[in-house]
């Protein structure tokens, strides 16, 4: 019987190794897998390449992972944050690398990684510094830049409900990067607010089919980033 459930966040992330690339879902606090990130902080794997739209907020979750010195390089669209000094300080100290990618190109590169498309063309960044050094092609009279797919060794994902086969549904705008990251990672690790019976999700409503999911852990009452910030919580 296929059963992707594991007992704890610690068990779910236990094989993430030094130097691994890790996609982390979430946009702001929506869909951010905080418990899995904290388990990764506990594990201590370092020299990670992390892919997320931002660089975390406050001093928990992704910001704490970065603050703990475990991240060698960030690939993101918007590393600024109104609630965190962690990334800017490391960046200005030359202790973390940054690859800046427009948000839509980031999403599409990840989707391409999951869909077996090694490269594609987009008009985004044409005429800007972000297109410098990239291959430009004119198609039907318009210039496009070639972008490569983005894959990762692991993805850390948060969803609402899941079943043992790994079928997932999300809550509202918590969906964001999570489904494409599930597709693009070799090992997709998911925290679900609830793990339901295998017939508990209507096949018409599944957002991430189980084929894209490797491990599931139930986190019934996940931490809420804005509350952690308001309370000044610092992890670990």
């Amino acid at each position: 019987m296929i059963d992707k459930r594991v007992a704890t966040p610690a068990a779910a992330v236990a094989d993430i190794y030094d130097g691994a690339s890790v996609m982390i879902g979430g946009f702001g606090e929506a869909g951010s897998p905080i418990e899995l990130i904290h388990a990764l902080i506990d594990l201590g794997a370092k020299d990670l390449v992390v892919i997320n739209n931002n660089t975390g907020n406050g001093e928990s979750g992704l910001a704490a992972l970065i603050g703990n010195g475990q991240v060698k390089k960030m690939i993101c669209s918007y590393p600024r944050s109104s609630h965190s000094r962690v990334f800017p300080e490391l960046y200005h100290a030359g202790k973390i690398e940054l690859e800046i990618v427009p948000q839509g190109t980031l999403a599409e590169r990840i989707r391409a990684g999951g869909a077996g498309i090694p490269a594609f063309y987009t008009a985004s960044t044409i005429g800007t510094p972000l297109a410098e050094g990239k291959e430009i092609r004119n198609i039907d009279g318009r210039d496009y830049v070639m972008e490569y797919a983005l894959k990762a060794d692991f993805a850390l994902i948060k969803c609402e409900n899941a079943d043992r086969l790994g079928n997932l549904v999300y809550n509202k705008t918590a969906r964001n990067f999570n489904p494409v990251m599930c597709m693009a990672a070799t090992t997709s690790i998911v925290q679900a607010r609830k793990i339901v019976e295998v017939d508990g999700i209507d096949p018409e409503h599944v957002i991430t089919p189980g084929i894209f999911v490797d491990r599931l852990v139930e986190v019934t009452v996940p931490l809420i980033e804005s509350q952690l910030i308001a309370q000044g919580v610092r992890y670990p």
Binding site: P102, T128, N171
Partner: protein, 207 residues
């Protein structure tokens, strides 16, 4: 300014509003029109901010503020969301600006300063993919420097993308002939606008 922008958006448009002043456009939908707001983090049919205490931390907009979903809304992932943007399905986006050049180049993401941390978000995708790009901005910077210029000195967000600029002094179209004043703000003279613009301006056409 936000009200003037809203007045120019046709009924039934799909609209993406940037963070800041552009967000205010949502408050001024003219009577009889229905706009559908897209937020790039995966929601079409975005509604106003919820009542205090009714926020869902997982229902937010691109500026990471709590919002609501109108009847007829839909959620989707980032890949699909930017397919809407890149694929030309969004009719109008409203953005802020650091600089706009007379051929419609936009700079709104970086001063290019050596110590600045680059941060682009979705702006480059929006200007490359959305049919009509409207800019809402103060006519000059806080220190009085012109934002409407012959050529942008800041790193570009996109080339030849802006359709129209709404400033505190005037509404200005980007035309093949350059900046064309469409309408002056009440009490503002054409000459005043020219003085605060670092590029030739065509005066408003007589009606």
């Amino acid at each position: 300014m936000a009200e003037l922008v809203a007045a120019d958006i046709p009924d039934g448009s799909y609209v993406n509003l940037g963070i800041g002043i552009p967000e205010l456009v949502a408050k001024f939908v003219p009577a009889g029109r229905e706009f559908i707001y897209h937020t790039e983090n995966g929601l079409l049919g975005m509604g106003p901010a919820p009542a205090p205490g009714q926020e869902d931390p997982e229902l937010i907009n691109a500026g990471k503020k709590a919002v609501t979903a109108n009847p007829g809304a839909s959620y989707f992932h980032h890949g699909d969301s930017f397919a809407m943007i890149r694929g030309g399905h969004i009719d109008v986006c409203v953005l802020g600006a650091m600089q706009v050049s007379s051929n419609g180049d936009l700079a709104n993401w970086s001063t290019g300063a050596a110590d600045a941390i680059p941060a682009v978000g979705g702006a480059m995708d929006l200007v490359a993919g959305v049919k009509t790009v409207l800019v809402v901005t103060q006519h000059t910077t806080k220190t009085g420097l012109p934002k409407l210029v012959r050529q942008c000195s800041y790193p570009l967000t996109g080339i030849n993308v802006v359709t129209r600029v709404y400033s505190d002094l005037a509404i200005i179209d980007i035309t093949p002939e350059g900046f064309q004043v469409h309408k002056l703000a009440p009490g503002v003279a054409f000459k005043q606008v020219c003085e605060k613009t670092d590029a030739p301006l065509l005066p408003p056409k007589e009606n």
